[in-house]
Symmetry: C2
Subunit: 347 residues, 2 copies
DNA sequence: CTGTTAGCGCTTTCAA
DNA sequence: TTGAAAGCGCTAACAG
């Protein structure tokens, strides 16, 4: 049979076969200077012949580096996080790094568990988006204190000393999106659909919405504001449908704090016989790719998700490799620009 | 300031502080039997006090196990793969395992690179969905020969000896979905929209479509069959729109080999003034969650993505821990059931 | 240019 | 019940 013996080849095996020392083999394989060209060649050939694969674990034990960066996101099934991961992966791979992704499932308990696993030295640094549940950040803070490279992106609560933060200006982005709506003649009222206000980014988007309305001399009507409690798409739809169906009167537009809420809102509105954008305009937040699969393409605040991942990875690797996130030690956050993309759910 | 010295505590530090040997500390911490209860307690307290965190790398070097399983998917931005990852993660976490996700970006070169990284011993096993580009599987085969636990899911080309395969019956699933359409009085012709036929699953779905048509005494019209060449959503839309706009006559229904194609198809049809399902019915494949975000909910072949991940993880961990994928050595593949979910794009 | 030796942090015999 | 020592696979300082 084809039972190759599952022997794992190590330096010693090559050394023995060639009657040279292990160090010579090691040096040859790492292209080190001080080995005779002939020996080096001989070694490499033997290594190939035997199918030698270096043991990364042993290397890591010595170097203290694993070549892996940890990523913790609140959930897998949200396109924004996946886009960020793509960005991280894209940058990391160029620098010969891998990413270890974990989901905290929106639970601070799982989040902590994941952090603890990473702390055991299997990653060289960590990129994380905090869940709304995270109250105490002491774990992350002590990680940063211990000198572990740490980048927080998207949602965060308090700042963490010694960590870097990558985010957008949620407040202003929301403010401007609502301004865009408020400036239309056809718009007198704007509603809001968001997620739990415990999550700081959602809260900021709400604040932006609110202030934008007020600055336009619109009144903020509580009955047009809704925050989903559930974290599951099917339930979210029902919550939103319920909310809308109970409205006696509709606002002229809705600003939604994610694209997903916007799509669910449109779906519910259409179920209720309202046309988008003729009767009611809708603006989302995130500009995720799936919003393009839809018949009426969504107007949305574009957030540079992929870029956010790339930047987070860049900062982290800089800290890992060069010892500093940025040349200037003063800066501890990076704010990426957003842009309102106007498509067909507004007119 | 709060500059804790970033000293990393090791067993030796605890040993010194307590004037005991390193072995005693190690034993105490691993709850080993043969340590006096008092000593054990003393050690644990000291460890806590000093903030000791075990070095997983050192442990791995000894045990030969990392507690990590590698996952390679063709792309991040396809909901199916993410669902599978969720399933893998769900099972793995219950068993104290982590997952290291990489994307092959639909390139056999990247795929090979990723495999090579994993082979260096940073994972205890590998779960992979092959890209359509993969022609030579020798790399995976030799990995399996070497005894590395390996589970292939979704797309695969030839079987790999010593690996486990988890999949659905793409042919039959497509066959039945098309039967469902063909049996309608209103349907005389069914079109097909798919991806590259180089990908075996797409090819099987196409074959199922074809045979289903033929067995219903429908003719297979080449002009109603289209395979996207691009792997990018925006381009895919244009390809599909182009294809449809050139049609002189339309089929009564389209069977699409993914949900994403189905949604793009619906979008293009609507652009062309066709109503779904009144004028043309559409069936997708995958039943992914985002298909619920849309106004007209998609009829689709439900594929147990999450379950597929769980099963893949279960088999892999069984091989890692117990030495065998399944009690019976004979079985080398697991075929999961599919189901047609009828929603509003068919009538 | 090459070999010897001492670890990396931990577990695990083998002795005491 | 504890300690000393060997060693996981590799690198790197130190000799030759």
């Amino acid at each position: 049979m084809n039972k190759e013996k599952p022997t794992i080849i190590k330096l010693e095996d090559i050394a023995k076969a060639l009657r040279v020392s292990i160090s010579t083999v090691s040096r040859s394989l790492s292209n080190s200077s001080r080995v005779k060209e002939a020996t080096r060649k001989k070694v490499r050939e033997k290594a190939d012949e035997l199918g030698y694969i270096p043991n990364q674990i042993a290397k890591s034990l010595i170097s203290g580096k694993t070549g892996v960066i940890g990523v913790i996101i609140p959930r897998y099934d949200e396109a924004f996080f996946i886009e960020v991961c793509r960005g991280i992966d894209h940058y990391a791979r160029k620098h010969n790094y891998r990413i270890l992704i974990s989901s905290s499932r929106n639970s601070s308990r799982f989040e902590k568990e994941n952090i603890m696993v990473f702390e055991k030295g299997i990653v060289d640094g960590l990129i994380i988006s905090l869940t709304h549940q995270t109250k105490s950040q002491t774990h992350l803070q002590s990680m940063a204190n211990r000198g572990t490279p740490l980048v927080v992106f998207d949602n965060m609560n308090e700042k963490i000393e010694g960590a870097m933060h990558v985010r957008i200006d949620d407040y202003s982005a929301a403010y401007e999106a609502v301004q865009f709506l408020a400036q239309k003649k056809s718009v007198q009222t704007v509603g809001f659909i968001g997620g739990t206000i415990l999550k700081s980014i959602f809260n900021k988007r709400y604040e932006g919405y609110k202030d934008s309305l007020l600055s336009s001399d619109f009144s903020l009507k509580e009955e047009f504001v809704f925050n989903c409690k559930s974290m599951h798409q099917v339930h979210e739809y029902h919550e939103i449908y319920n909310f809308l169906s109970k409205l006696n009167q509709f606002p002229n537009a809705f600003f939604c704090s994610t694209d997903s809420y916007a799509l669910l809102c449109i779906k519910a509105l259409s179920k209720l016989g309202k046309r988008v954008p003729e009767d009611i305009q809708v603006v989302g937040f995130g500009n995720l790719h799936y919003s393009r699969l839809f018949n009426t393409e969504l107007t949305s605040v574009s957030q540079p998700s992929f870029k956010m991942g790339e930047k987070a990875a860049e900062l982290l690797l800089s800290k890992i490799i060069k010892g500093a996130y940025l040349p200037s030690e003063k800066i501890d956050e990076l704010i990426l620009p957003t842009k309102l993309i106007i498509r067909n759910t507004t007119c």
